[in-house]
Amino acid sequence: MMGDRTIILVDMDAFFASIEQQCNPALRGKPVLVGGSLTERSVISAASYEARAYGVHSAMPVMEAIGRCPDAVLIHGNLSKYTDTAHRVFKICGDYTDLMEIYSIDECFLDVTGTAERFGGAWEVARNIKRRIKSELGLTCSIGIAQNKMLSKLASGMGKPDGLTEIKRDDVEALLKDLPVEKLHGIGDKVRVRLARMGITKASELAGASKPMLKREFGVFGDVLYWMGNGVDQSPIIPYHSEPDMKSVGHSYTMERNTRDLNIVCRHVLRLSEMVGRRLREQHFAGRTVTLVVRYADMHTFSRQRSIPEYIDDGYAIYKAALSILKKQEDDKRAIRLVGVCVSNLVKGACQLDLFADPRARSLLKAMDAINDRYGEFAIKRARLVTNCCITQSYNG
């Protein structure tokens, strides 16, 4: 059991949009949307609070967002700007504890149980973090303080933007009494609907529900739900330096236009495979199972795995395995919207690579890695990937 803990959640306010407003003062006070281009496929990554007033939110299609807020300024996102800023935020937070869990690019949990007193208490830690983020980066954040991760997340959402909220132990019961269940982090729309069918709409009703009944309905998660209703969350902070090894490495790509041209599809599969291979080698992993994901224009998604005898980390070997799966789908003439490649069944460090593989191929791979490390990704690439059209759009993964 966890003893008494003090957990802080730092959540940046409208992160990407606020950075853009900081870069360009003319955008301050205006609705700003960060997302892709004005096409059917693009979605919003972040919306400023001025844009949110029009009902725009992240993950909304760009076209719909512009329809709701025609005066909004649409900015094409700059990931390196945002990741560098996130590192600077996490560096500030890391000055107050080494027990920091990076939860997403704009959120981190801090366990300050053992360190807060050195800085005058958790409230002072939170105030210092807010002051430094504002003075060093010009950005605001919302902070929640509570006894566990779930309640600190709840607290951070109570004072947005630029808020600082503490949920004290004695206040938990009163707070949860009328709180809708969907306000608890981890309860999404599907669970909310299932709970509502059981007559549970408030956290206090969840707390008073029969545990066996919840377990019957939700399995192991039923137990978690019961404790959530009681404001209890035993989940530990997982510091970024002790995160478990990854289970798989994958990338996907949504085409700008649906295509039936298998040459185009294969080229994207090759590029994704090379990206996966590069990440595997960087982290000293190799894998034995290759998964290919294909989503058709009608949104039907096909996913197949192929396991191979030897561990691989070479993009071209991954591509060949993915291609063998794709070949079996050749008869399907539907237009393709998205492709994804993933390698799982991973081992780290020394592993038995193919004994009979051409050693020159390994040397070539090393030489290519050295060149790409020196000059940037895809500075050197397979001829198949050199095209007249630019295919350097962002790949997800």
């Binding site: 870069c23 094409h76 700007k81 940037g376």
Partner: protein, 86 residues
């Protein structure tokens, strides 16, 4: 708001102060621009080369000029210009 990609090499006068770089002026297409304020800065990389970006506003205008310093090649580039209030 118009955003123009430039990607042209520029001459820059910069102050190196307290282990920080701060562009003070730049020359682009034979025109002199005095930096009024650095509104934001961030780092990126291209291979092993570190890129230092600065969003700046120049005297007499509100457009934002994005300057990039490549610490490997010691080159300055004007990456892009975003429209301001004018």
């Amino acid at each position: 708001m118009e955003i123009v990609t430039v990607d042209e090499e520029v001459r820059v006068g910069a102050a190196f102060d307290n282990r920080k770089i701060c562009p003070v002026w730049f020359l682009w297409r034979s025109r002199y621009y005095k930096v009024r304020r650095v509104t934001y800065n961030w780092r990126s990389s291209l291979g092993i080369e570190k890129l230092y970006y600065f969003a700046v506003i120049v005297a007499g205008g509100s457009s934002v000029y994005e300057l990039c310093f490549n610490s490997g090649s010691l080159e300055w580039t004007l990456s892009r210009i975003s429209g301001g209030d004018e």
